[in-house]
């Protein structure tokens, strides 16, 4: 029942945010229509960080308690996280092409996002390579923890190295009020979507574990 409430809530919020992005918010003066990608890219980027925070917490709890449910949480969150990171990279690329003239530049935040993406790719690969499921979960948790601690370090290193990405306007109040509101609604909609996906993924994972146990393969 709770799930349907969350679904309804997310759908309404998502529709509102779509209407705001495509109809309500004014077009940006310099960049034109392309700038509307902003309302997709920033929320998925935020979700990538949020989901990896959840991976981090789930991984620590799993290493301490060794309860499967924490691994299920971390793993489900990581799956959403890597999809969001991929989306952030893709939408960013589509935005960069008309504005910067290239699909990709080795600029600080792009590089940091790519490194982040690679770390979480390793998170899934190590499970495949570990052989045993519980060992894979333990190794993945190690990556989940070191990877998350690594994020600020990677950002620091790449920023020091080179920067061309515009500084986050959001925190400096340089965003028109209408754009700000649209962005906030978008972020809220995507955050709701994240929790919906997380709940669904966890229940799916739990069913998978149940089936495995019924079939007699170990978890």
């Amino acid at each position: 029942m709770k799930r349907y409430i969350l679904l309804a809530f997310t759908s309404i919020l998502m529709l509102v945010s779509l209407w705001m992005v495509f109809v309500w918010v004014p077009t940006e003066k310099v960049m034109g229509i392309v700038q509307r990608i902003f309302y997709l890219m920033v929320p998925v980027g935020w979700l990538a960080l949020l989901s990896f925070l959840i991976v981090f917490i789930g991984s620590i709890l799993y290493l301490i308690n060794k309860q499967t449910r924490w691994d299920v949480l971390a793993r489900s969150s990581a799956e959403i996280g890597i999809v969001c990171t991929t989306l952030a990279l893709t939408t960013g690329s589509i935005w960069a092409k008309p504005i910067w003239g290239v699909w990709w530049t080795w600029e600080a935040r792009l590089t940091a996002t790519l490194v982040l993406w690679l770390i979480y790719l390793a998170y899934f690969m190590v499970r495949e390579f570990a052989g045993e499921e519980s060992r894979g979960a333990r190794f993945a948790a190690i990556i989940g923890i070191t990877g998350f601690v690594d994020i600020p370090i990677v950002v620091l290193a790449t920023t020091f190295w080179r920067g061309m990405h515009p500084p986050p306007l959001v925190f400096e109040g340089g965003l028109a009020p209408q754009m700000m509101v649209t962005l906030m609604v978008s972020i809220a909609a995507f955050t709701a979507l994240y929790f919906l996906l997380l709940v669904l993924r966890i229940s799916l994972r739990n069913s998978e574990i149940d089936i495995k146990q019924l079939k007699g393969t170990d978890y």
């Binding site: 290493l63 490194v115 690679l118 770390i119 390793a122 690969m125 190590v126 390579f129 570990a130 052989g131 060992r135 333990r138 190794f139 948790a141 190690i142 990556i143 923890i145 070191t146 990877g147 601690v149 690594d150 370090i153 990677v154 620091l156 290193a157 790449t158 020091f160 190295w161």
Partner: protein, 223 residues
């Protein structure tokens, strides 16, 4: 025995084993030499090109050589069944981490101590300055700190040698970024003052990586 006595015992064991076989260091050295030769094929002999890519070359070489030697650190233990011996030894797991980390560090420093003069000799580069040596020492420490953790992890997976670089390069990329920057500055003859910020970051990264690896190492080897 105190903490450091136990650490010393593990490091000493590794160094002794290496002195008897000389497997790791000699193989890694030959590998390093081969990489240097390949770089010569790739970039030619033009002076300005070599100067531009020098610090990158240095760190690609050390990164690959590092992975090679870190792979050996635990594969050797696993193959001879020594890992079980270490596990049942009455020492905390953290001691094993520090001991293995120190021995890997010694091997890496040894390889670098021989490779740097070779670099200087073959490319006529000024890599043997105190500034560059300091950068190399700091960056290698961070590199090995994380590397030892992931080496212990990779040895328990199916495709050992392949797993280590995949896991470990993305995590350690900040160290490589600063190492390349630092060496670049040092090679162009920059004074200590301009290297200060790079060194500062490298030291911070070393400390963070050492602490994290130290704290979670015991979860890697438990079984």
């Amino acid at each position: 025995m105190s903490f450091w006595r136990k650490v010393y015992a593990i490091t000493r064991k590794d160094v002794l084993a290496e002195l008897r076989t000389k497997e790791t260091v000699s193989a890694v050295l030959v590998f390093t030499l081969l990489v240097i030769v390949i770089f010569n094929f790739a970039f030619g002999t033009q002076r300005d090109i070599i100067e531009k890519v020098a610090s990158g070359m240095l760190w690609v070489t050390f990164a690959f050589a590092g992975v090679l030697s870190l792979n050996r650190a635990f594969v050797m233990e696993k193959e001879e069944g020594c890992l079980e011996g270490l596990m049942v030894a009455p020492v905390p797991r953290e001691v094993i981490y520090v001991g293995k980390m120190l021995s890997s560090l010694i091997f890496m420093f040894l390889v670098e101590a021989i490779a740097l003069p070779i670099f200087a000799f073959l490319f006529n580069l000024n890599v043997l300055t105190w500034q560059n040596v300091a950068v190399v020492l700091l960056a290698t420490t961070g590199f090995v700190a994380v590397g030892t953790l992931f080496s212990a992890l990779a040895v328990n997976t199916k495709a050992r040698e392949m797993v280590l670089p995949i896991l470990f390069f993305p995590i350690v990329s900040p160290v490589i970024i600063f190492a390349v920057q630092g060496s670049d500055l040092a090679l162009s003859g920059a004074p200590w003052g301009s290297l200060f910020s790079v060194m500062q970051f490298l030291i911070i990264f070393d400390v963070i990586f050492l602490v994290i690896s130290y704290l979670i190492f015991s979860f890697v080897v438990e079984e």
